[in-house]
Amino acid sequence: MTPTSMQVFFKMKLSRALIPALLLSLFLVSCGGGSNESRVITGNQQGVLHLGNGTEPQGIDPHIVTGVPEHHIIGALFEGLVTKNPYTLEPEPGVAESWEISEDGRVYTFQLRDNARWSNGDPVVAEDFRWSWERALTPELGSLYNYMFFPILNAEGFATGAIDDFSEVGVKVLGERTLEVTLREPTPFLLQLFDHYSTYPVHPPTVLAFGSPSDRFSQWSREGNIVTNGAFTLTEWQVNSHIRVEKSPYYWDADEVKLNAIVFYPTENIVTEERMFRDEQIHFTNEVALDKVPVYRSEQPELLQIAPYLGTYYYLINTTREPFDDVRVRKALSMAIDRDLLVETILENLYLPSYALVPPGTLGYEPPETFTYDPEQARQLLAEAGYPGGENFPSFDILYNTQENHQKIAVAIQQMWMETLGVSATPMNQEWKVYLDSTDNFNYSISRRGWIGDYVDPNTFLDMMITDGGNNKTGFSDSRYDQLILRDAPATLDQQERFKLYQEAETILMNAMPIIPIYTYQSKHLKHPSLKGMPPNIMDYYNWKYVYLDASQ
């Protein structure tokens, strides 16, 4: 190499290498400032909780939205008449400081506390509740959760348009701070409904300032507009990025609120969520991927929070279709599933095998035991139904919405049915909305389903299966069952008596077997050691007032 070409070589190499290097470093520098300390560490110092919250919330109007992520945020922003203790799930006073229940259990009189305030300083009065409930029940609003009010006298009539005048509904304002609620039947779980966000009050002047109360396009619940009555107020909301709420000085129990702020991050991708947790960007994950559970169990079990959850995973059977209209066929299919094996091999020993619709431990209710895994009897039942050894049994599909775990379960059950009964099923996946459409239109034979209770009572599961119930989807119909669920149980005041009626109803249900229970859900989270006051419970319910961060951890 001559000296000149050496120079050329260096010049070229330098200039070519320098420009991109310079640009890249410029870009690195432009990417924001701040310290390198993790969000969890700074959050602990400042009392700011960072939380993985599942999908992006649709909104925070309590009378419009329906999801669990929304529930977490609305629970921080609003407060209903009562709240729950996160340790016991017993009702605790919320906006109402006390309440009286009439002897027949049909009339509830709530006394509102005089220091309950909206985040603009206005007092929270009984009329706010009456107005809010009228709004929630107005047919034009199209609230999906309006059925939560249906135990109230004439609420259903008003919601369906049969009654025009809201004064006929059993909600009366007796004084500025006294609210009387009259029920159709004594409903022992009523107080739990008044802790559900669909019954939370909204600030009437704010809603009216942004349009008609039944306008779904209204801007009233946007940051800057919204006025709330809970422990926190909304300060930032960037769709798909984060929602930030800060402690409200007007909240009546502000002294008890330990956190200064909560930041909710949408974490629809649970793999990314777990990385965020490992990188100390969040204190708490909304979920843990099933295949990560064994790793955490063996390496960092202290970070894993697993608890029974009020939800059942089951298969619907289309009882309007042959051969599934024969109860012996349905029972044979259910008895041929080895749930213990399923839980052990596919579900990482995480979920619990289930033999009934209602999960165990629902505030004292225990579901009846009507059947077990019994391949011998399953084969016999199928033979009695005219299909000995699965002979002539038409092949059918197991429908599920596209998801890896649903698929694994369907494949395993397909094999069990083939080996035990000799019937041939094909797992078939459909995209979520297509799957919903197929099930709604009875365009399926066997379809996967999950149900999470709205409140801790067998009723939230069993009232699904009444004749032509919107969530029944199986064609199951039994007049005695309907009588028990719609008339007898709601009219019974004594809890033990009532549970007996539910047990009778569930026994009828499981003997008819329009559904095949598979397992009981468990809630699973990753939790940073500094996060306290978020105990596991069957509702996976958090009361933000109890939550605090211990920086010493």
């Binding site: 991109p20 939205v65 779904r216 990025s241 629809e268 919107g470």
Partner: protein, 309 residues
């Protein structure tokens, strides 16, 4: 040239109109509606919702009122996010996706053309094989693999960079930009290599060398200009593709960009949002194709001469 631009713009209108029409009726033909959910919706509630979102009108009337609104720049309310308009959501996601796309493109152009030129200088030697093999791997490596690998190495093992977010913490824009840019860098490397190879054998380069110009002047001043032409005409479509194709990267890194809105809208059957993003992105693609044609004409005198005629 102006006549060319005008004609091309006019051609775009029927294309976009066709996109709107097909999308409008396709989303409505898809099974499952925007309000179907796991919990049963009572008939009264369903009717109330359909009335609020004008779904109770005949499809043709919905189509006409949608077009009327669109001409006035109103893409309607989102079906999934009550109280938010499609315009608002798009213009919230767009700057983020555009920024991400710009960084990715910057990385792609710098690394890609650098590698391509280096390879073309000594074809069929190690200096050619090494960058081109890396480029081949880059094209084949999907971002849903590269992203998590980068996160694992730089985010968790080395703990240099945040694993997710956009503009929330220091340096969280680096990994997504590299992930998104990598594949395009690989394409550009191959494009610029073949472009350079073609130019290097041309007579005018021999002339330049014969004049006694130093090699780096020959390369930087004479060869690059022609050699990078294919890259320039690729940039427009590439940027449009980056804007519409950043969904995977946005999901991996929890970035609140347009790509996520687009895909979520389809899953949610958010009719107006699907339409809005489709119309918006197809317009962008048409515009960027047009721009890259113009840029190519501007760089290439032969094309310019054709337009003048």
């Amino acid at each position: 040239m102006w006549r060319f631009i005008g004609l091309r713009s006019l051609q775009a209108i029927p294309v976009i109109l066709a996109v709107i029409t097909v999308t409008f009726f396709l989303v409505r033909a898809a099974p499952g509606g925007p309000f179907s959910s796991e919990k049963a919706v009572s008939p009264q509630v369903q009717a109330a919702l359909e009335a609020q979102y004008r779904l109770d009108q005949p499809a043709l009337q919905q189509y006409i009122s949608y077009l009327t609104d669109l001409v006035q720049g109103n893409m309607g309310p989102s079906f999934y996010y009550p109280g938010r308009s499609v315009d608002e959501l798009i213009f919230q996601g767009l700057p983020i996706t555009a920024e991400l796309g710009l960084y990715a493109l910057l990385i792609a152009v710098i690394i890609g053309s650098f590698a391509g030129v280096i390879a073309a200088l000594k074809p069929n030697t190690m200096q050619d094989y090494v960058p081109m093999s890396i480029a081949m791997v880059g094209i084949c490596m999907p971002s849903f693999l590269l992203g998590p690998v980068l996160v694992l190495v730089f985010g968790i093992m080395l703990d240099w960079l945040p694993v997710s977010g956009w503009g929330n913490s220091y340096g969280d824009k680096v990994l997504p930009s590299i992930t998104l840019g990598a594949m395009y860098a690989a394409y550009i490397a191959r494009l610029s290599r073949s472009g350079m190879l073609e130019v290097m054998s041309q007579d005018y380069l021999r002339t330049a060398r014969a004049k006694g110009l130093p090699e780096y002047v020959v390369i930087l001043k004479h060869a690059l200009r022609g050699g990078l032409l294919p890259v320039i005409s690729y940039l427009g479509p590439a940027f449009a593709a980056l804007l519409s194709g950043s969904f995977v990267v946005e999901t991996i890194f929890q970035i609140p960009g347009l790509g996520r809105f687009y895909v979520q809208a389809a899953f949610n059957r958010d009719y107006t949002m699907i339409l809005g993003t489709t119309v918006f992105l197809s317009t962008l693609i048409v515009v960027f194709n047009l721009l890259s044609d113009i840029a190519a004409a501007w760089v290439n005198p032969r094309l310019r001469y054709q337009f003048k005629k």
